[in-house]
Symmetry: C2
Subunit: 372 residues, 2 copies
């Protein structure tokens, strides 16, 4: 019998998956989580106007979505004070990361990121044969100077920077980012992932000229707009770069219902302000819960909080496992020393109550197992 | 200023788009279509149960979709009498085509298709540097023997076959397809696009062993289930091939609302039967409208009908343009002699009424312009 002949690159790739989703974990455990606080989702949900728009669009789903997402792009362009050709809408930032890697990366090309930063970006880089060069975090922050230095050293085509950072929740002010952009070497593109920036202090989002060819920024409706399952992300960059995506993207890839929901969410500025208050309150609640257990938290400009469990990665992993056994889904950073933390996403009070109830027992279980 | 450094392949790709969507055409024309019959959408819409499931899922869209689409895959596996590892759910067949090309095609690799077949497949092949070898249609049907012969001649990694065919609507019975599969040469994979097969006579879908490594079949919720805008396609193939997609796919790429809608649509077998009746009726109506204008139609096993306009490609193009000017959106085949036809998708009576009203004038306009 015959078999498909895969490319050499595919044959060499491992069958790894960046994240095991909560549903898969629930099936493996044979029971549902009672608190879903691990995937940096926004449990406060989308704007009621967005929900209504999506429900209304369901009956129209026999039509393909607009392949240019024109209305949404026009609204985003106005929102960001750029032009429509500066904006690309795609299937979540994850989808856009894949497209961008495909545009730039051939086997052997150098790419720079932080060690412990977003694994889905690394997955896409590896998927096109790129060689990842990682620099360590500095004091739980992404190290802007080290990223630039490594890009110069390796001749990188692409630098990945999340501001605010995931998984730590820390951030740099816009002046620091703007100063970094000035140092991006010739031939390098800075991918500035601003998935969480709507939760950050006002002076966090960098001001970037719409035609600056050194940077592509990415945003999403998954976090501040509470629409992770809708898969709507967007990129802002120079028109030439945005146009290049048209050579390869899945033109009719956007869900029509999601397009309608994103447009309504963008227009509901009242809900956005309300959401920032809810998320800030939940961040404080997570910090309070940590403090009640004698633990400290990192300052966060996102919809999640890194709790320092006060030990090493094994200890934090034991806490995370015990929380999971108690039905509380959280995640944790991947590398030391950041992996001394667990990462808890915001959510409504009842879910945080369950976390508050489970944490002391989880810490106790982790401490007991450490003493064995 | 610095610029991104694209891959050599990207630099060489043209900025072409497989299809200009109806919304883009409407914006260019400055007015909406009054009959949307061009994109092989299903204007009868989705099952009311699917609409209800999508509306209900809108409030839950703060959660990422299940990255394994497990429930939907389990239901599809049961429906097709295969196992879950035989089934992959993805972002429409278009998305799956892109993934499959990425798995198999490196620059210079040979791929076989029919001249005038699905341009989005060609787009993805070109996007990975594949070399397309095209065989002509035979009597408005895809030519199974010619496809196999060309694959042997070129050492193709991949053959594309749509059964039933788009854009002609013609089809082969399952025995012919099964006989073709036996002839697929070593090292070649047959991509059997069955997007329209639910509209075809019962003996059209080939029976293929679940672990047969020579074939991957693709299906969709866009056509029979009336959910084109939801972007849900799926593939059935040997587990090894299905697993290979996990190396590269956008794991969290599925819209959660679409997953819920597809599951409900699959379960609504009453609606599916009703839909087949509606579509068969609309096909007959399109044939009647053609006959009233002295035109013949091709037999169709799909949700669209190719009308032979009785002239050449230029004449059919003039008819299509005049229909567009009258607010009726249809499309047409790309190459001769199939491009003597226009392709009209099914739709509810009011839309077909507008087509019936516009067609005589469009034919008149095309004839007049031909005499100039």
């Amino acid at each position: 019998m015959t078999h498909p002949r895969y490319t050499r690159l595919i044959d060499a790739l491992p069958s790894t998956v960046p994240f095991v989703g909560p549903e898969a974990q629930e099936r493996a455990a044979g029971r549902p989580f009672t608190a879903r606080l691990g995937a940096n989702e926004n449990g406060f949900g989308p704007s009621p106007r967005a929900i209504a728009a999506m429900a209304a669009a369901a009956g129209d789903v026999w039509k393909y979505g607009d392949s240019t997402s024109f209305e949404l792009r026009a609204a985003l362009a106005a929102h960001h004070d750029v032009n429509v050709p500066n904006v690309l809408v795609g299937e979540g930032i994850d989808g856009l990361l894949g497209y961008l890697c495909r545009l730039l990366i051939e086997p052997g090309d150098a790419v720079v990121t932080s060690d412990g930063a977003y694994p889905t970006f690394n997955y896409h880089v590896a998927g096109f044969g790129g060689v990842l060069h990682k620099v360590p975090y500095s004091d739980d922050h992404e190290d802007l100077d080290a990223l630039i230095a490594k890009a110069i050293e390796t001749g990188a085509k692409l630098i990945y920077l999340a501001n605010p950072d995931n998984p730590m929740g820390t951030w740099h002010g816009r002046e620091a980012i703007e100063a970094m952009i000035k140092k991006v070497p010739d031939g390098t593109l800075l991918l500035l992932d601003e998935a969480y920036v709507e939760f950050a202090p006002e002076d966090t989002a960098a001001r970037i000229a719409a035609d600056d060819p050194r940077v592509i920024r990415m945003r999403t409706f998954s976090k501040a707009h509470g629409m992770a399952g809708a898969r709507v992300g967007y990129a802002i960059a120079a028109p030439e770069l945005i146009a290049a995506f048209d050579k390869i993207r899945n033109h009719f890839g956007m869900c029509r219902i999601s397009q309608a929901g994103a447009l309504a969410a963008l227009q509901d500025t009242t809900w956005q302000a309300y959401m920032r208050l809810l998320v800030a309150g939940a961040r404080q609640r997570i910090a309070d819960i940590a403090a009640q257990n004698g633990l400290s938290t990192l300052p966060s400009a996102t919809n999640f909080v890194a709790i320092d469990c006060g030990g090493d990665g094994d200890f934090a992993r034991a806490v995370l496992t015990a929380l999971g056994d108690a039905g509380v889904f959280v995640r944790m950073p991947f590398v030391a020393p950041e992996n001394r933390c667990i990462r808890v996403s915001v959510g409504p009070e009842p879910e945080l109550d369950r976390f508050a109830e489970a944490l002391p027992h989880a810490l106790e279980a982790a401490r007991t197992s450490r003493m064995k």
